[in-house]
């Protein structure tokens, strides 16, 4: 990961601080080994913002449209800081017990069964709060004392947890999609916020070269042009965001790798995600133009 950061041109002072952090907090939990992330996040500026905030002890809120790499970046950060990560997916029915823990009965006794947030906070991990704005404010209020200067958690009947110094929270947030809502101000103020930009050509080129190195230059550039066209059409209001799906694109390339035609694979990954016929035809036209038929 260090090599990757250096290749990205991350400021040496940040890399030095990162190394110092890792030396100060070696990871010792054998039950939760550190796993190298499947994808790497490309974007020097974003990396530097994220590293700076986390090294300063801040929590991060990553805001962006779907498939802009929020979870990829969060996992990358956990890995490069050398900490285990706990992933909590938020939903509208989330409550405090699901995050922090609840009573259970074990060995003839009522015991506290810690939730993922509790475990992460006690072990100094990186807690990824995915789609944080899906949950209700009542549930999120349980996190307040951990996210601000207090860095504590009081569990009724079980005392107080003082958070491990290495613990960090990285929240991710989509905005404007089904089921999402505004994050309340009290919660938002406890994070340093980074707005992840939509994918650009350079980033896509790096990603495809790394993940699908077998693609010819022409196909790679055509696929990138296709995605950029989709993005532009969405920004101009010609199509919805459904087909502007980087995950879908990467999935399609994986299917193509298995031997299916590229056009068919991209139809599965992008075109068929749209159910409005008019919109689907516009996207199909784009596919016919950039990729052609199989």
């Amino acid at each position: 990961m260090l090599t990757f950061l250096q290749e990205q041109g991350i400021a040496p002072c940040l890399i030095d601080s990162l190394e110092a952090y890792k030396a100060a907090y070696p990871w010792s939990n054998q039950d939760r080994p550190l796993l190298a992330p499947g994808f790497q996040y490309y974007g020097k500026e974003i990396w530097e913002q994220a590293l700076g905030a986390l090294l300063a002890g801040e929590n991060l809120l990553l805001v962006g449209a779907k498939a802009t790499g929020k979870n990829v970046l969060a996992e990358n950060l956990a890995y490069c800081f050398g900490r285990g990560d706990w992933n909590v997916s938020f939903h509208v029915n989330m409550d405090a017990a699901m995050m922090l823990g609840s009573d259970t009965f074990r060995d003839g006794q009522v015991q506290f069964r810690p939730g993922p947030v509790y475990e992460c906070a006690s072990q100094g991990g990186f807690c990824i709060l995915d789609e944080i704005n899906m949950a209700r404010n009542e549930a999120l209020a349980a996190l307040h004392s951990m996210l601000d200067f207090r860095r504590i958690l009081d569990i009724p009947g079980y005392g107080r947890l003082k958070m491990h110094s290495a613990t960090r929270f990285i929240a991710t947030m989509n905005y404007g999609y089904a089921g999402t809502r505004e994050l309340n101000e009290a919660l938002a103020s406890r994070f340093a916020v980074i707005a992840l930009p939509p994918a650009n050509e350079h980033m896509l080129a790096n990603l495809l070269e790394k993940q699908y190195g077998h693609l010819s230059d022409k196909i790679r550039s055509s696929v990138i042009a296709l995605f950029m066209d989709l993005q532009l059409k969405y920004q101009q209001g010609e199509i919805s965001s459904k087909s502007v799906d980087l995950r879908g694109l990467l999935g399609a390339l994986g299917i193509y790798q298995q031997g299916l035609g590229l056009c068919s694979a991209l139809q599965m990954g992008l075109v068929n995600k749209v159910f409005n016929e008019d919109e689907r035809q516009i996207i199909q036209d784009l596919l016919d133009l950039r990729i052609g038929k199989d």
């Binding site: 029915n93 009573d103 009965f105 009522v110 809502r181 784009l286 016919d288 133009l289 038929k293």
Partner: protein
Amino acid sequence: MSAENMGTARGSVERRALNMIWTAAGDYTLVPGFVAYLKDGSPDLYFNTIMGFAYGHYGAQELDDYLMYLGHCWLGAVLVDMFWLGLEHATYQRSYGNMLTLENLRQAWAADYLDDSHEDSMQYLMMRQELSHSLKKARCLEIQGKNNGLLNPWEKGLYKGLYFQQEQNLPELKENFQQMIKKYFLLKPQLLWQPGHWHLMLGAGLSQILRRIMPMEHQGKGASQTQAGRLREKSALMSQEEERRKQEKNWYLPGIGSKSAAKELAEIKAIYPVGALGESRRLEIEQQVCVGNHRYSHIYLAGTATKGEAYRDNYGHFLQQGRKYRRIIEDLSHGLQNSLQLAKGSYSARAGQGKLAADLAWQGIINGDERIFRRPLPEQYQEFSVVLLLDGSYSRHSQQKQLSAQSYVIAESMRRCGIPTTVLSYSTIGSYTVLQVLKAKEQDVSGIWNYEARGWNRDGLALNILGQYLGNDLSNSLIFMLTDMMPSDEKGLPMAGVKSLKQYTEEAAIADTETSLQGLRKEGARLAGIIQTVVPFQPALARRLFGHSYVHIQSLNQLSRAIVSLVDGYIQQQI
């Protein structure tokens, strides 16, 4: 097929064609003068792409200007076809290396054109320009690697001139083309230009696959679409209003220098032939609301008549801008569904009955706690309905089409989310303030197109009438008032004495409106302002009238988020 469906079907085909051009040009603000279709009416991917590249490379405005110039002549359609054929050659040469598929698309395009299996209609054959067809056919044969088939030396020479070179810029291409016209048509180019002979050649050879589109509404903003223009309009309207005031006596006693109420009512009924209430109910409401500041006023509740000119104008505008408005409907519906979904939620609490919670079962045994079930909490907010109240005064005339479309967008989005919606407009004519029901709760949304801006706006009285009309529904209504916060009426406020001294405008009218709004709130209504104004927006005034429940709309893109935030705020207050 209904007019709306035809418009939609044509619209979607045209939208595809435009998207093809925009993709190639990389410019979504471009308003192309031409789009290309295949014989079956579907958009021509190859040629629209070529056009897009050409527009992007040579400059859309300059290119279209020249093509329009060529079009203004006896041989206009043929010359335009020829120029495009020449551009096709140059553009293809320049672009094919950059695009994987262009060669295949070109081949398919040529094959499609040469395909004799299509049974060309008699109409197509009659309209097809033989010269254009010969030249196009020659090009397609060459694309297929065959001899171009031209035997006529004149045609051969002409065709040679259509190998435009990719290195040439537009002025050079134009110059060469002009020389070619002169040589082969033995005419001075300037003589070809005949003003007033603009014609559409649909289906003539290449022309069947080239079809001019009507200029988009946003091409070249008219004065009324710029802020300066709107301000000038508003000033002009205000001047007209002032003139009218000067001409008419501002006596407020009926019967002195003014028409009788009955005569006025007859005139109102002539404008609004369909009433929404019986006469006795109308009088009942009038007695309730025409008191105090409005004691010399009258009221009328109108329904919507058959589709008149306003309907056609408003609906025509919507069809023209359909893509934009449909996008907003989708966004707004989506946002409203979010809000409703989150508010309803399935929050549950521990209880002594309900659905057994396996994770709590042990508490029953160990702690003797019977609350080992989960019970969903009752819905936390009450079902509500939405009322759109539109200022229908003449000051909104220039925005009539847009306001009716916005109201349609809101009502249609609400309908999709199952929120009952009523749409009304109000205006004041003479001493009558008319509340027109454009869409009752149970009616469909099409009546909204009847919205017509006329008269003055005595807002305070209109709100009072609304309160009476809604009756018991008032307490579970979220009322959106689409307003510019400029109530005014030629009939002033009655004062002590014979002659009215106070105009119903500015502070006096605002105070009266504020009182009416407070009255509705006391009855349980929730009010929100959707403010669009041509004069500088006054946040303090908005807060005075609507508290925190208002949005100031400066562009259509703000509409869906604004409405969702107001609905969200309303729901949150209830929870």
